[in-house]
Symmetry: C2
Subunit: 538 residues, 2 copies
């Protein structure tokens, strides 16, 4: 027997309707690519998004069409985002930091029809345009006055293009499982793979991220999403913030410490979200200029493990709560957040920081477990590490135009991470599964050795890989880039590690190199390191 | 094109799984019907709920079967609730305050198979059992030791019955639109009508109620749901609280000021929800015993308009935030909550109290509008009143076993209330549509006159009805019950009203009676008053 409640599909544009009607006076503030600050409110945002939808419809765009954006977090990007989705088309956010050949692959694989780009990325688009046969139009997110000379075929200024459409348009209505957005993940191996979000998954994920123990956005907040919209939905903030009626402050291309500080201060930002690198830049700017953060109450930090120093400085010196998080593009992306709970509120000092260094716990709608190589569930004891599997309504079941199902038995998605989970549900990533070192039947966390080694004076960067070993299967090799001028030695480093990690985790050897290879998004390419040290013997 | 996210149905028992796994250590505390406090945690709750499901399955209960409960808010009621729903059966909560003939009608209309009852209600069940042919078993929510003598056929103590089932049971899995719970509304006219919630609507509604601007439950909260589970899902708290991992404090049958205070104090309750009557009792107890509320941070007050004095006393004297709310059984039930927002944070004194007296604004997933008699939408100006229509995934589309659709064009549900909405989205109920007085083409709010009149010394209760008038169509008649010993006169009352309400709202006459008729749930029966004053002429 079915319930008798309304058949009311969860569609992302209803979020915008809600914000415009109930929080229409709330501002959206943007540091424009052209320079000056721009400000309007949710009513304006909705009207302009409706116009984008109508203008796209006039271009012949309809349900299921892929429309790409390559843009910073700005008002125009949000209008484009909602306009595309509100028409039932698919908003395909491109990461401009990818290598050109990856972008070409992705755009062709998605068969994008139109590309919206910021002024910043016109040269990049020009360089690859010859390889993009499906793109029939380039809409540059600016006005005629700032329109550059360009070799792009069929290029038009966004504002000019938008002038062709009024707001007399009704959002399309369709099944909530309809695809809404597309975002490719760039793994360390193989071609990028497309994650295809649905309206339902995005709405549910937004509601989840507004729960008090995640980011807990309320209508009095001023939220600064520094994490880009092309980085897995700006961690849900472009949905979660209008859902709550909070103000949306958009940083544009200004990701440096000074620009971020200026927004935090003038816009009285109460919460923000970004990767550790951004906070490093901000902390440096604060220190150099002896500044405070009187408005900022909490920050979500993820994308990479948050360093201890960053947590300590933000919390103790600036009184900003650090919410350490973990997620994946395939998870929309939020998986865990490290808010304190009743049983951890009393923690102080070293115990507190140890908990804060964990990636946190799952909100309702994310299921998580760890399993061994044979798929047996492992205990939640805070020590035993296993393959981290996840499940939920905002977790991928397949990649775009890939036949292969990516789910294990029971519908679990393998995150590719190795982690342990404690009794209270706090999870800590200890490795990528490809990077874990199997020594004598046990696992050694390459990440934990790296994080410890980086504390040793003279080390600029560290990477640990497993090297085949006749007796132990594998043993860890520590690869180090010295800080300029440092002559730190193998013995000094090993002595530093002694007592800080388990004795049997101490690397067999230390090798010094000039540079560690990275992916376009800044991750260490251990595969390349393993190639480089392919014939290595201890 | 559909998105490629997981097909993950929103089922209420996944809430319990989440709570048991991630907040398993959090307590559920109950003032038992037998007397002593009982405490266990979410892990225990889940195990016992699984046992209820298994025991029901052994009784032959399956998907779609209606299983009734007549019980206070206790651990055993929650176990029964989740056990029934986790099997795919429908948990039908009965309001023991209804008249016997209404209960008989409801149970027969729902064709309930089993009735779970608290010790308190055994005499009530015995009195009506002869009229309940579909009930084959009475499970009394106690143990053998406390089992009463009873004439109920097939009566068994809950704990004894539960002993027959272990927890080796897997929740059923099914379409998220499957019916989960049934709750009848008792209108002032006609037979009660059954609202049939689905798993999806209950989960979504729970997530909605945990949003920061609704009740904002977090994992450190200790929540006391005083509003009964038979009163429209305890305002979602039996879903919302485990979703957030907060502790659940259950008051059992102790609804008086002393009992409530004791729980607030010993269990360090941080938030609670109840109708105004309960808070009146608590405030009196606090005053008489010179007590404070050091732990309580916020309360949700709804079910009836919250009196001004109550808001002022709770907020100013006891430093407890009052969240005034409005909803309906047909809305799961939460429709609006009156949290401050960015644009109202600065309000103080009279402006603040005026806003707090409004019923509040809608969270995302509740749509609301006001229309005139012809269905034309009216402006949100805080003055113009109209029929209040609502829409959303947790709003009814039909009643159980009633053929008639109850939705207007566009899928709107008419709340039956008359209200205005201001520019910031705050709604205020001004009347029931049946009670509004149409005078000279304009509407007069009977509720506003009543609320004003009640402030006049000597008036114990007041009701206003419209009386036919040759020139103005209708004019208001004020019906008053004097306080014992008072001799307040018509002229004194009219003089009191002068200047406090619009001149043309001043009642044409005042009539004094000994008693105003009420429904079983305490609402004024204006229909009866209109009958009583049927031949009245000014």
């Amino acid at each position: 027997m079915l319930g008798l409640m309304q058949d009311y599909p969860l569609l992302v544009h209803t979020v915008l309707d809600h914000a415009a009607l109930n929080h229409g006076e709330r501002e959206m503030v943007t540091r424009s690519i052209e320079g000056p600050m721009r400000r309007y409110n949710y009513r304006d945002l909705r009207v302009r998004s409706l116009r984008v939808a109508k203008a796209l419809q006039l271009e012949g765009v309809g349900i299921g069409d892929r429309i790409a954006t390559m843009a910073w977090n700005t008002d125009r990007h949000v209008e484009t985002w909602y306009g595309i989705m509100g028409l039932g088309a698919i908003c395909h956010t491109l990461n401009p930091r990818l290598f050109a050949e990856q972008l070409i692959y992705i755009i062709n694989h998605a068969e994008d029809r139109i590309l919206f780009i910021d002024l910043t990325f016109v040269p990049l688009a020009e360089a690859i345009a010859a390889h993009l046969p499906t793109i029939t139009k380039y809409i540059i997110l600016t006005d005629d006055e700032h329109m550059p000379e360009t070799s792009l075929a069929n290029a038009v200024a966004f504002e000019t293009w938008l002038d062709g459409a009024d707001a007399d348009f009704s959002w399309a209505s369709f099944d909530e499982n309809t695809a809404a957005a597309l975002c490719y993940t760039s793994g360390t191996t193989g071609n990028p793979k497309g994650v295809l979000y649905s309206h339902r998954s995005n709405v549910l994920h937004g509601l989840m991220c507004n729960q008090p123990d995640v980011l807990g956005v309320n209508s009095s907040d001023n939220i600064l999403p520094i994490v880009p919209m092309f980085h897995a939905n700006a961690w849900a903030l472009t949905y979660a913030v209008p859902t709550a009626g909070a103000s949306l402050i958009m940083p544009g291309a200004g990701m440096d410490g000074r620009s971020i500080y200026e927004l935090l201060d003038t816009e009285k930002v109460s919460a923000s979200a970004a990767v550790p690198t951004v906070w490093l830049g901000l902390l440096q700017h604060l220190k150099e200029n002896d500044l405070e953060l009187p408005w900022l109450k909490r920050v979500l930090i993820g994308g990479a493990a948050c360093p201890r120093m960053m947590i300590e400085t933000l919390e103790n010196k600036y009184d900003v709560e650090v919410i350490h998080g973990w997620g994946m593009t395939e998870m929309s992306p939020v998986g865990t957040t490290g808010k304190m709970k009743n049983s951890t509120m009393h923690l102080k000092g070293e115990e507190l920081i140890k908990l804060k260094l964990k990636q946190g716990r799952t909100p309702y709608m994310v299921e998580m477990k760890i399993v061994d190589d044979d798929g047996n569930e492992l205990p939640r004891d805070g020590k035993t590490a296993g393959h981290l599997l996840v499940r939920g309504p905002a977790v991928s079941s397949a990649y775009y135009n890939h036949d292969k199902s990516i789910l294990l038995e029971g519908g679990w998605f393998d995150s590719g991470d190795i982690a342990h989970i404690d009794e209270l549900g706090y999870m800590q990533i200890t490795d990528r599964d490809k990077d874990v070192i199997k020594s004598g039947g046990e696992w050694i966390s390459s990440i934990e050795i790296e994080n410890t080694a980086i504390g040793c004076e003279g080390i600029a960067e560290a990477a640990v890989i497993g090297i085949a070993h006749p007796k132990w299967t594998e043993r860890p090799l520590l690869i180090v880039v010295r800080e300029t001028g440092s002559e730190v030695s193998e013995n000094e480093i090993l002595a530093y590690l002694d007592g800080k990690i388990a004795k049997w985790w101490i690397p067999e050897a230390v090798e010094f190199i000039d540079e560690i290879p990275h992916t376009a998004t800044g991750k260490i390419q251990k595969m390349k390191l393993r190639e480089q040290f392919g014939g290595y013997r201890f």
